[in-house]
């Protein structure tokens, strides 16, 4: 068992998503520190991919810019190795199947274990294909996080029963990005999940405001925010850590 459960042991979990290397790796480090200091319970670190098919415009652009700046998987591993000296809350990676596969699955997942990364989210890896990485994840005790979408319907049972770490509940159709309104009946989805598993459910996609965080945390165990944070980073660049810190605090306080 990974350490992910500890993120959900102090009330509702706030999970910020940060694209590594955007605008540069030192700023990423500073952002992580500020987010943790201001109440983040789990950090989701994006390893950029050239063609992030599940992302909206904001995170796509962060991916391209980070890669243009020369970020690589190895540099991200080094950064995490370093921050792990001071940061002890759970960390998960979010990246695409090819980034893991191409690095060598065993080499990638064993490095996760070595640098104390607790889990991995792969948006282009549905239940049917999880055997691609699951044997290595089990071997090195890295949780392969499953996602449930508004369209999952009868698939919820099989996904929930085998879920590890936490379940990523996708709030809306489409790609990542902030949304004014979330119309999916998440209550129904989460109560359906609860019939099959006790692991925590965190809602992501489209959440940006403290009001949304408050509403979503009432029906789940945690909230994941990506695009809203990346927008702050896009606006403030190297000066963004302090702004991200303030934002994390406002979200955590609302939950």
């Amino acid at each position: 068992m990974s350490n992910i459960h500890s993120a959900f042991e102090h009330g509702k979990a706030f999970i910020p998503f940060i694209t590594c290397g955007y605008p540069d790796i030192n700023t990423t480090k500073a952002i992580i520190h500020k987010a943790v200091k201001n109440g983040a319970d789990l950090i989701e670190l994006g390893i950029p991919f050239s063609d992030p098919t599940a992302e909206g415009a904001v995170i796509q652009s962060a991916n391209y810019n980070a890669l243009k700046g020369g970020i690589t998987t190895d540099k991200i591993f080094d950064m995490v190795r370093e921050i792990r000296k001071e940061i002890h809350i759970p960390i998960v990676f979010m990246t695409y199947a090819n980034v893991v596969f191409s690095y060598g699955t065993e080499r990638f997942i064993s490095t996760c274990r070595e640098i104390h990364v607790d889990g991995i989210i792969i948006p282009d890896l549905p239940f049917e294909e999880k055997d691609e990485f699951l044997p290595e994840c089990n071997k090195y005790d890295v949780d392969l996080i499953s996602m449930i979408a508004p369209t999952s319907d009868e698939r919820i049972a099989m996904i929930s029963r085998e879920a590890k770490g936490f379940l990523y509940i996708v709030s809306s159709l489409g790609v990542t990005g902030t949304r004014k309104e979330i119309t999916t009946d998440l209550n129904a989805i989460i109560s359906s999940v609860r019939k099959h598993t006790k692991i925590p459910c965190a809602i992501g996609f489209g959440i940006s405001t403290p009001e949304q965080a408050a509403r979503m945390s009432k029906i789940s165990d945690g909230v994941i925010v990506g695009s809203a944070i990346i927008k702050i980073i896009a606006q403030h660049g190297k000066n963004s850590p302090v702004y991200v810190g303030e934002y994390v605090k406002s979200m955590k306080n609302a939950m």
Binding site: F49, S50, D51, T53, A54, G56, A57, Q60, Y64, L67, T72, T73, D74, Y96, A97, N98, V99, V100, F101, S102, Y103, P123, D124, L125, P126, F127, E128, E129, K130, D131, E132, S146, M147, I148, A149, P150, T151, S152, D153, R155, M158, I159, V170, L173, G174, V175
Partner: protein, 397 residues
């Protein structure tokens, strides 16, 4: 429930897509498995193939080319004579009819050269469906005529500015759009790629090409060809051209990849020659990528072959040695484009010219007893401005 190993060609293929789309591809697979055996569906599709698209396409004996090259007898499978000017219509009529039976009212598609976009816009017009086509911004410029054709047919064309602004980005954007709107929308994928069941569905609809070649060549020559040659981007005309010959081990199957400025440069799109195994756009296959798995910004003069991957069934045929994949450069393809125009009076698509080029090298090494079939996947009108530009001439269309 056990893990479903659907859609594998050897180790390639699979369904590497977001959870949001899983029920959509499952629904598509169920519908396809039903309608592929439904006689009404097949009768209707055959009627569309024959009466609307103009099938069967001709198998033409290229006598002047044969004599000029002085080796094997060369036949051209004339997919360029299909309605809309390329093989793409075969797949699109099948998928549009399937989508219609599934109750979908809207088609979305990606396009590179624009031929698949034009075919999809055409089928949408024919069947009274709405249509949105995603096309790399770079490609909208080099294939401006096709953009206008799609608009004329009632489709909305959305230029994709992200990434390299080419075919792979158009595919990514079409997938994104599909996750946003699934209920009324079918993603009419244009090649034998993407997640299962697309590589199977597209192959089946395109396999009409090899079914016809086989019947036509047996009638003309009373024997099978020695070589079947087609160009490969994602690989739909190639798989269609070779599918019914896979079990005929005497027939050599050749796919011609776009080498761009050469396989020793970074400006290439030759996946088998320069790529390695990966997972992208829903499938495990070979991809042009860097050491960290970032997809490479590929290049070819041909917008239709300018894709960093290859369909999973081709990857498998390569692995087992059943088909051979060879790189052909821009320069070689342009020479073949000009050669076929002058020698046979047939202007091929620049994509198809890659296959013509390889046949030009191969034919002289064979004897008159040997037969080569080249699939001319599309017509070359769309390429004239770009080829003129390549030769330093600026013609205003």
């Amino acid at each position: 429930m056990t893990t479903n190993k659907a859609g594998r060609f050897g180790i390639h293929g699979g369904q590497y897509i977001p959870e949001t789309l899983m029920n959509a591809v499952n629904e598509l697979e169920r519908a396809y498995n039903f309608y592929r055996n439904d006689s009404d569906f097949n009768t209707e599709l055959t009627r569309l193939f024959n009466d609307y698209a103009g099938r069967p396409s001709r198998l033409y004996y290229a006598e002047r080319m044969t004599n000029d090259l002085g080796g094997a007898k060369i036949y051209l499978k004339r997919e360029d004579l299909n309605h809309t000017g390329a093989h793409k219509i075969n797949n699109v009529l099948g998928q549009a009819l399937l989508a219609k039976r599934m109750g979908k009212t809207r088609l979305i598609a990606e396009t590179g050269a624009g031929q698949h976009g034009v075919a999809t816009a055409t089928a949408a017009a024919l069947m009274g469906m709405s249509c949105v086509v995603f096309m790399g911004e770079e490609d909208t410029l080099r294939q401006a005529l096709n953009v206008y054709r799609m608009r004329l047919l009632g489709a909305e064309v959305i230029p994709v500015k992200t990434g390299t602004g080419t075919l792979k980005d158009a595919v990514s954007e079409a997938f994104r759009e599909w996750t946003t709107r699934i209920d009324d929308t079918h993603y009419c994928l244009g090649s034998v790629m993407g997640p299962h069941p697309f590589p199977m569905i597209v192959r089946d609809f395109q396999s009409v090409i090899s079914r016809e070649i086989k019947a036509q060549i047996l009638e003309r020559e009373n024997k099978l060809p020695d070589y079947v040659i087609a160009c490969v981007g994602g690989g739909s005309n190639a798989i269609g051209s070779i599918y019914h010959f896979i079990d005929d081990s005497c027939v050599k199957l050749i796919g011609c990849e776009a080498a761009g400025r050469g396989i020793n440069t970074f400006e290439t799109a030759a996946t088998i020659a320069t790529g390695r195994m990966g997972i992208f756009h829903g499938m495990k296959s070979y991809f042009c990528q860097d050491e960290f798995g970032q997809i490479a910004p590929v290049y070819s003069i041909s917008a239709g072959l300018d894709y960093p991957g290859i369909g999973p069934e081709h990857a498998y045929l390569h692995d087992i040695g059943r088909a051979e994949y060879v790189p052909v450069t821009d320069e070689e393809a342009v020479c073949a484009f000009e050669y076929l125009s002058r020698t046979e009076g047939i202007i091929p698509a620049i994509e198809s010219a890659h296959a013509v080029s390889y046949a030009m090298k191969l034919a002289p090494s064979l004897s008159r007893e040997n037969i080569i079939v080249i699939t001319i996947s599309g017509r070359g009108d769309k390429d004239c401005a770009a080829i003129a530009r390549y030769r330093g001439e600026n013609i205003n269309e």
